[in-house]
Assembly symmetry: C2
DNA sequence: CGGCATCCGGGAAGATACTG
DNA sequence: CAGTATCTTCCCGGATGCCG
């Protein structure tokens, strides 16, 4: 076979997406984002724009070409957009469009349902974004009545803040400075504290977690995210 | 390579499922039901048990071997169970387990999100179950305040009923007898009436739909399921 | 190093034919 | 009707390499 010059392959036949021929909304959603990794890429962007390399690191196991392909497809359908950060950074990042941001209920429904799975293994690796989104998903508003406080999370290089107020929780990326409590550790350790029932002192003793600020408030925070019972349990 | 005798392949090594190694609940959900067709099979069971052939007919385009495989996998993870109808029917049907039934919010989230997609084509074929589930998904409770009535649907061979009461909607399979309004037609035509804004008289004139009972009530019913605006529109 | 293209092997999905 | 067997197609994932 002869080699192809660049302009010969320019108009690549863009793989014909295998669609469900179904007017059902859920089926169409799967046409759009049902490819492997697509939803997880979106998940990683739900708390803000990310760079290619950060995405790849968070999505344990994805290969570069697949990530490229998914980002292209998500961009084509209007879920993701490419941005260039202002100088002096000037790096390219990927962000969800407003419509892409509206996909969060999908993750909450999936997460709530799968949390009851007998096979769910909470000890697998978890990304910072996953952990923080899970707070929104599992938040039990009645338990937080009358609580008004800011909780900071230093997870790896990034910082996030959860604001609790009037039975609502608001999670976003941003500096932890000034929070009433600051947790510093890996997402996995945070998950162990919130969902695994591992006591704070134990995690601190082994140096896996650092807690600054109001300890009683920290303890209360950890109890605001109950997991549903496993099926058949 | 030599042929294999049946008992040599009896203990099939059950394909190692390609999992995301991720503690995130949504990722685990996709491990469980992320395979192609899996969620749509579940959707078709959300209003009650179905036979293999009916599933195959509703899932336009699925091939028998794939349906078999998905049903086996869904059974293995505890989402689907096989039942045999009591005599004299004595036919095998597939049904969702209670946990499987809890997956409905996933379809609602997917459907609500995808309804805003510019690419969504409501003229594709739609199954009876899809249509009826969409009523639950798109139901606008405030518009139905003070409405208390029963609506029957004759869709192909099957009958379903929607009970509206106190701003709640309850959809289930069952005889339409005694309903205040009875619609008879294909799911696609019903979808055109509810979501396409096609006026009832037009559909009736071309014989695509038959409406029995209180016509004013029928008209009111059709306005209870507003679609969200398309993105960029 | 970030982003993207190319090649290749394995395996899932799809179509078809066949069986009880 | 309810699947099973087989063959083909093509997506996924890994490795490699190019380019800025």
């Amino acid at each position: 076979m002869l080699g192809k010059t660049p302009h010969e392959i320019a108009a690549q036949p863009r793989r014909q997406p295998r669609r469900y021929e179904d007017a059902c909304g859920a089926a169409h959603a799967l046409d759009l984002v049902g490819d492997r990794w697509a939803l997880l890429v979106m998940r990683e962007l739900l708390l803000g724009p990310r760079r290619f390399g950060d995405l790849r690191a968070s999505l344990c196991g994805i290969s570069a070409n697949i990530l490229t392909q998914r980002l292209e497809e998500l961009e084509a359908i209007g879920v993701v957009e490419r941005r260039v950060l202002p100088p002096p950074a000037k790096v390219q990042v990927y962000a969800l469009t407003p419509w892409g941001m509206e996909s969060e209920p999908i993750f909450q429904a999936l997460g709530r349902w799968a949390a009851r799975s007998p096979q769910h293994d909470p000890r697998l690796p978890i990304s910072a974004v996953s952990f923080l989104l899970s707070l929104r998903t599992m938040f039990d508003a009645p338990r937080a009545e009358g609580l008004r406080a800011r909780f900071g999370f230093r997870l790896g290089e990034e910082e996030f803040v959860a604001r609790l107020d009037g039975g609502e929780i608001l999670v976003e990326a941003g500096p932890v400075a000034g929070a009433d409590v600051i947790f510093a550790g890996s997402p996995a350790v945070m998950a162990a504290a919130v969902y695994g029932g591992v006591p704070l002192p134990a995690l601190e003793a082994e140096g896996a977690l650092r807690v600054e600020g109001d300890r009683a408030l920290a303890e209360r925070f950890l109890g605001l995210f109950p997991l549903p019972p496993k099926v058949g349990g």
